[in-house]
């Protein structure tokens, strides 16, 4: 035992709560301010020091702490009952038997994780007359597909999809489930994770596997977007994550790939389902096509007011491009939300992205940084957007932008 107490540097504490979770003595608390220690409970075992991301905690006798940490590390094995959970699953999302491309992107990412873990990659297909989708999933990388082919799951509805999905999870016990962060994927993920009482991480931008623990390291922008956080789900399986469309790369399709399709029957009685899909309306997208655009010209807060979006439109018209916007411009009411690029808008991967008057908050950058060529025009040389730009112009956008439009008008006719 030790009468030593962990030392706290309040100015460094970001209130993430890691230490509170790590402390075996329940000696640490967060009460709407920096972490506090209860000196009576603190056993100075150093686990909090080890996990703190900002070095806000310290123990005098570091050697002693190090020993204890090593000891603690060896204990960090997956509980036995969770070791049965094996394999990576991807939810294959369809609307009217058309598969959301994000599902294929996730098969590509899932393949990498499955190979890393030495397990199978499985696609989960729910639909009616959906066997072709199962074959397609194999051609995009699935080793195996669980297929529920039933009129009751023809269209997505929370209740039957959740029930079917949970039945499969309980039977086959996957360790990782990936879903697209779409209106369907997020609806299903939230319901399934709650029923399974497991962890779910939204909008991951990087997924990695820790080989020793088999934990999925789920990285996403956090705390409003200018910080990255890696989220872990250490004591529960499956580990669930959603990923936004176009964040992961589309894998190559190979029609010669072989895989196994396992058809599953689910007891689902239509009369017990309390929602009906009356109509699905495909909307001719008047606005954006942002997700399919080769060229995007995007405006942000620097435009100052609504009418200045005309300057963005002018350049977009000359280039045959599409108009995008930052969250700030959308929140200011200058342009509608369909134009929003970023973590809460659309993630894009065009050949050319021209950012005008956009400073480049992380939540915007994660939505466009995979564009082939990025141009930034901004009057602040320190703006983070320049860090991702292929070409930057530091200057007054009201002068540079019309001049650029004029140059292209001359060059392209």
């Amino acid at each position: 035992m030790s009468n030593q107490v962990v030392e706290i540097f309040e100015d460094k504490c970001i209130e993430c709560g890691l230490c509170v979770q790590a402390c075996p003595a329940n000696a640490l608390t967060l009460e709407g301010g920096p972490v506090q220690v209860n000196a009576d409970k603190c056993a100075a075992n150093g686990e909090c020091v080890e996990v703190c991301p900002t070095e806000a905690l310290a123990l005098d006798n570091e050697e002693d702490a190090d020993d204890k940490v090593t000891e603690a590390k060896t204990k960090e094995e997956l509980p036995t009952e969770l070791q049965d959970y094996k394999g990576v699953w991807v939810f294959i999302e369809q609307v009217r038997n058309e598969v959301a491309p994000v599902s294929w992107e996730l098969l590509g990412e899932g393949k990498r994780l499955a190979e890393d873990l030495g397990v199978e990659l499985t696609g989960v297909v729910l639909g009616f007359d959906a066997r072709d989708i199962a074959y397609e999933a194999i051609s995009y990388g699935a080793d195996k597909v669980y297929l529920i082919d039933d009129p009751v799951v023809k269209n997505y509805r929370t209740q039957p999809y959740t029930q079917a999905f949970i039945q499969l999870v309980e039977k086959y016990k996957p360790e990782i489930i990936l879903l697209g962060a779409t209106t369907v994927g997020r609806d299903l993920a939230g319901a399934v994770a709650t029923k399974l009482e497991t962890g779910l991480t939204a909008d991951c931008t990087v997924l990695e596997v820790d080989h020793a623990t088999r934990h999925l390291q789920q990285t996403r922008p956090a705390f409003g977007g200018n910080i990255m956080a890696t989220i872990l789900c250490k004591k529960h399986r499956p580990q669930m994550a959603t990923v936004r469309p176009r964040v992961m790369e589309m894998p190559k399709r190979d029609n010669n790939r072989k895989g196994e399709i396992i058809e599953e029957n689910i007891e689902l009685d239509e009369s017990k389902i309390k929602t009906k899909v009356l109509k699905i309306i495909e909307e001719a997208k008047k606005a954006a096509y942002l997700d399919k655009a080769d060229i995007i010209v995007a405006g942000g807060r620097g435009l100052g007011e609504e009418k200045n979006f005309k300057l963005i439109e002018d350049l977009a018209n000359i280039l045959g491009g599409t108009v995008g916007a930052s969250r700030a411009a959308v929140d200011a009411g200058w342009i509608s939300v369909e134009h929003q690029v970023g973590q809460t808008g659309v993630t894009v991967r065009p050949k050319l992205y021209i950012a005008v008057g956009i400073s480049g908050a992380i939540q915007h950058l994660v939505g466009m940084e995979r564009s082939d060529t990025i141009v930034a025009i901004n009057n602040d040389p320190e703006a983070p957007i320049f860090d991702v730009a292929t070409y930057g112009v530091v200057g007054d956008l009201f002068k540079v932008l019309p001049a650029l439009t004029e140059e292209f008008r001359k060059a392209l006719g």
């Binding site: 991301p53 929370t158 939230g190 956080a229 060529t373 070409y391 392209l412």
Partner: protein, 294 residues
């Protein structure tokens, strides 16, 4: 009317006709920082949060508006529920100033650090207490909160209550209390769908749903003066192992500033000679065959 929990167990039967309210909505709101631009100091690695005011999550405002619309139409009642630190009381007062009737704040040290699963558990236990007192027909949530952007708590509550879950609602076409039924439009990636669902139901709403009203002066005064009910751990039936940091399956493993990026080529003269800089930029883009030179 029977209220049933997620396991099909009867929670309560409502039959007090004299106290019947035509439509009772509960709106779950969250107080969030008024900006998505909370930064991190790269030197100290700490969050810069000075001078960031708090607001009601913008999506939740549309939930409040939808609930008030039902109140106007059916002479109903609107209850506001939030979870947060004591200062989240301000969000409730603001909601009351729009015309909501009752405000409840869930606040306790034991709730701090809850992830989305633990949060949905605490809120659901509070909702069960409200439902015990009086029938609830519809719960509204914003589609997501702008600080966490997870969109997980709404579905979590619906799953726990065993209620119909309707997310990304862009239109409420019909609320039929006699038939216990609602028709809504829901956003899809490629358009939208029209859904008919039995009540009670939980709806998460998007910005396009409605226009937010202005608060009237009497309501503003009423909101400012209102006594907010505060419920803590002791006021709810809670399994301690399911709340707070220790009840949260997800943990933050590491927090770090975004990776430093290389940065590209800055074309000189943007300030002194914007036309010249624009010319060089256009040439580079055309030369790189990013843009076809017709």
């Amino acid at each position: 009317m029977n209220i049933i929990d997620s396991n099909g167990k009867l929670i309560t039967t409502i039959c007090k006709i004299e106290e019947m309210i035509s439509v009772h909505s509960v709106v779950c709101v969250k107080q969030v920082p008024d900006t998505s631009e909370v930064g991190i100091d790269p030197e100290t690695n700490t969050i810069i949060r000075e001078g960031v005011p708090s607001i009601i999550n913008p999506y939740d405002l549309h939930g409040i508006e939808a609930a008030l619309h039902l109140k106007d139409e059916f002479d109903g009642k609107v209850t506001i529920l939030t979870m947060g630190p004591p200062q989240a009381e301000a969000a409730i007062k603001r909601a009351l100033s729009f015309g909501a009737d009752r405000g409840i704040l869930l606040s306790d040290r034991a709730f701090a650090g809850s992830d989305t699963l633990a949060t949905s558990y605490i809120i659901t236990q509070a909702l069960k207490r409200i439902i015990d007192e009086e029938r609830v027909d519809i719960i509204f949530c914003g589609k997501q909160a702008i600080d966490g952007d997870t969109a997980q708590v709404g579905p979590g509550i619906a799953a726990r209550l065993g209620w119909n879950q309707l997310t990304y609602v862009v239109g409420i076409n019909e609320v039929n209390i006699d038939n216990n039924e609602v028709r809504i439009s829901r956003k899809l990636e490629s358009g939208k769908e029209i859904i008919k669902a039995e009540l009670p139901a939980l709806l998460t709403v998007v910005k396009g749903l409605n226009e937010i009203r202005y608060a009237s002066l009497p309501d503003m005064i009423r909101g400012a003066r209102a006594e907010i009910e505060v419920w803590g751990e002791g006021d709810l039936e809670l399994d301690e192992s399911k709340i707070g940091l220790s009840g949260s399956p997800t943990q933050v493993g590491r927090i770090f500033p975004p990776p430093e990026r290389e940065g590209g080529e800055i074309i000189p003269g943007g300030k002194e000679d914007p036309k010249g800089a624009a010319r060089v930029l256009a040439e580079k883009l055309i030369g790189k065959e990013v843009i076809p030179n017709k």
